[in-house]
Symmetry: C2
């Protein structure tokens, strides 16, 4: 759980950080269309009363009652960032001639007192992470009229996420992604309120992670030992960039399958190597979860190795490779527990009936919709938590508005008790890298991933109509474009602010 | 036909410009892998003899016998352009310490004399357009070793295109494309030896062409009257950029369907308007072809209009709207002929049995493969020329290596005589704009369009194996990336020069 104060001295973001935040703007003014917030807040009451913002006097500040105060890095930098995102064209407009009453947004983590002063919005959040989400919502409420003036309408929002785990997977092994591309993705994730970056950092084709303990892994296993790697400093940069945006970095070191690239630089001292590997991963990545992979283990490699077969005989596994797989996974899950971290593994680990620590999260990635429901029932019946990725394999492109498929997923629609439903901790959009690199990642990811974002954040009843979502998502895509995210179009048309940021 | 000299004083590029060019490099040196040329030349003989290029002394020049000499804008600027494309990293390399024998490429349009001097390549072409294609091939032959030195291997190439018409369609009505995006597309087209840019400039959603005669059409019909238009100067820039790269600009003003955007700014004086419209188009766009559209005419609009129905009665068409459509198309095809231009129309115009001028080109866009073959037989049997687009609707994306489908098209595989086969003048890759704008155009177009480019340029027998093409296309995609074209990956892996130009 998140301590209820600024986390400036903590290097660990936690898993259930964004509880309730509420948000009230009190103002007076004329009529205007109200722009929506994506993903849709739990409660959203808006009126036609509009208030004009003067960028010269506008400010974000901490409330008197706030547990967080200046010096809280996460919010200090968020204030600066959101000011720039809201007033993007500061240099071009001549609205500075007008002098309005100052308008400010006051952030009060933990405070529930409401401010009713004129020209003031108050944002009350239980944690700084909730405050970040509120700032994002506020930034989306601001719009410009045809003359370039900025407005916000009187609005009351109460909000919290439906699921605590709203992830995007990028695959940096099948193609290397420059650090800049990852940082840009984190920016865009924050705009859709995603909060977990699942970094599928290594796999068969390449090993870009530059290990402190085993530097040969990238020196020999990366596409290029100098240009196609993530140094320790790169990794720290990604973690820090994510943290400032309320995004946790969940690293995956997938094994025992998908490890071809490890072969070139590996040292063969089985148990000691394991421990040292996970010791490093555990200290480099502060998140309390580690993704251990465990999917698609191909036994032909083990079968071909006399040492492996001898070991199996010694262990009494006979010729049953699933027993060896189970032994291996148990081994690394136990190491992970010993390091005080929680394991996430692909569903295969459950399917093969290993003894799984109770707090392990099973990651559903396989199957057609009926099969997925079955699996959700089965795993949650065993009392295990699940993370749903299967319906959001967004790398599988098709012609037309496939975002509608991502939007209409019902993650808790399977047969089971209410308790079972609660074991679905969230969902993940997967962008596997077979056909994706920095040339096409951004337009392929956005705004299609944002459709899943609303499913994971918003109330299902209020967001059950995909046709109603369409114009809102179009509008949100234009906001992404305005902020310099190369989000592709959903259909014929144009955005008011097109290509300036691209 | 292209006069056999430099075309510096002509503002019209013609339709059959790139006959035979041959290309010989004589050199001596060590061993190295030979990089291929995409699209595959008709004859390509390469050896392991390699020659080192010194960027300080390398030059392109005109042969003594050449009809073109300095002052020929198309070649002068091509020399400069290709020098920069070949020696992209001039600033970073330290190979300048070496002084090699000068290596030069001598261009001799019309000359067939071969040069056998040491350290010299000779490029003989019948036209400057052929010389441009030869320069592109030469530029692809140059490679760098691991130390950054440039090499070219001893190579003999004889080449000519299989089809004279190798087009790409961009749709600037469903989404506006900035002029820079169009120019960048022309750059990339030249790298794949495309020679026609089919500019589907207006359609239902918007009218971005700023007309001299009817400025209201864009003032009222564009997405934005100032930012989302193509001015006369923009159009001249596109034409000039294309011309310098041997790419003709084929404008399409599609009517009588697909004209919703015209409605806002149109003046209703039927015949006079037509003539003035085509007079302007004919003078603004120098190409000898004009695309008149003629597809997907929906009769409900005409049916709802009493004036139209009265006109039909007066003309004796009764209630047969196809007769009105035929009358309309005949009318504009005759105007086009009177302006000394050749019409291209979508196949619908043939399907509705209008009387069609014999030199009209029918543009095939509909149907499944079997249906397309039937249509090709039927139209060529009537003695009409055809342009094939249907198999290359590249906007229809799907997961995986769909470039293989574009590669394995057999444009002349239909039942008909040899004479009929010759009436297939070429093919066109269509990127319709429903889901495409400047955010995703480049990675969606390249290198998928390049697969079609090889089908349209190269000998079918020599390029029948799609698996053999794969590594060559991967290599070519890396060359595009190195040149700053945001071409997406074909599969897992990386390029030696990645992202510097992007």
């Amino acid at each position: 759980m998140q301590p209820a104060k600024c986390v400036r001295n903590s290097n660990r973001t936690t898993n259930s950080s964004e509880f309730l935040f509420s948000f009230i703007i009190h103002s007076a003014g004329g009529l205007n269309t109200v722009e929506a917030v994506w993903p849709l807040p739990q409660t959203f009451i808006s009126s036609s009363e509009q208030y004009r913002l003067n960028p010269q006097t506008f400010y974000f500040g901490y409330g008197m009652q706030s547990a967080a105060q200046p010096g809280c890095t996460v919010l200090d930098s968020a204030f600066k960032r959101y000011f720039s995102l809201i007033f993007l064209d500061l240099t071009s407009a001549d609205q500075w001639a007008f002098v309005d009453k100052p308008f400010s947004v006051e952030i009060s983590p933990l405070s529930v007192k409401e401010y009713h002063r004129y020209g003031r919005a108050s944002l009350n959040a239980q944690t700084v992470w909730g405050a970040l989400r509120g700032l994002e919502s506020f930034s989306q409420l601001v719009y410009q009229d045809d003359f370039g003036s900025y407005f916000v309408n009187k609005t009351e929002i109460e909000d919290f996420p439906r699921f605590q785990f709203r992830a995007i997977l990028l695959d940096t092994s099948r193609h290397y992604l420059p650090v800049q591309t990852i940082l840009k993705t984190l920016d865009a994730m924050a705009y859709s309120k995603f909060n977990v970056f699942h970094w599928h950092i290594v796999d068969d084709p390449s090993f870009p992670y530059q290990s402190r303990t085993f530097p040969d892994l990238s020196a020999k296993g990366a596409f290029h030992p100098m240009t196609h790697i993530y140094t320790q400093s790169d990794v720290r940069r990604v973690i820090s960039h994510g943290r400032l945006r309320g995004i946790r970095i969940l690293p995956e070191f997938d094994s025992p399958g998908h490890t071809k690239s490890w072969g070139k630089g590996i040292i063969h001292k089985r148990n000691e190597t394991h421990l040292r590997k996970y010791l490093e991963v555990s200290s480099v990545f502060p998140d309390s979860y580690i993704h251990l992979g465990g999917d698609e283990v191909d036994f032909t490699c083990w079968r071909s190795n006399p040492d492996v077969r001898a070991f199996m005989q010694a262990m009494g596994f006979g010729g049953d490779f699933t027993k060896l797989e189970a032994f291996y996974m148990e081994n690394i899950m136990n190491i992970t527990s010993a390091l005080n971290k929680t394991s996430i593994v692909w569903q295969d680990v459950f399917d093969y009936h290993e003894r799984i620590p109770k707090d392990t999260v099973l990651h559903i990635w396989k199957g057609v919709p009926a099969k997925i429901k079955e699996e959700l029932s089965r795993i949650t019946k065993a009392g295990m938590r699940v993370l749903l990725a299967a319906p959001w394999y967004i790398n599988h492109i098709s012609y037309g508005q496939d975002w509608r498929n991502y939007y209409t997923v019902q993650p808790q629609n399977f047969s089971g008790t209410e308790e079972q439903k609660k074991l679905v901790i969230g969902g993940e959009v997967c962008m596997w890298g077979e056909y994706v690199d920095a040339t096409n990642l951004m337009p392929r990811l956005w705004p299609r991933a944002s459709a899943a974002a609303e499913r994971l954040w918003s109330d299902e009843q209020q967001t059950s109509n995909v046709d109603k979502a369409f114009p809102r998502l179009q509008e949100f895509r234009c906001k992404l474009l305005r902020r310099g995210i190369q989000a592709e179009p959903l259909y014929v048309g144009h955005c008011k602010h097109e290509y300036q940021g691209i």
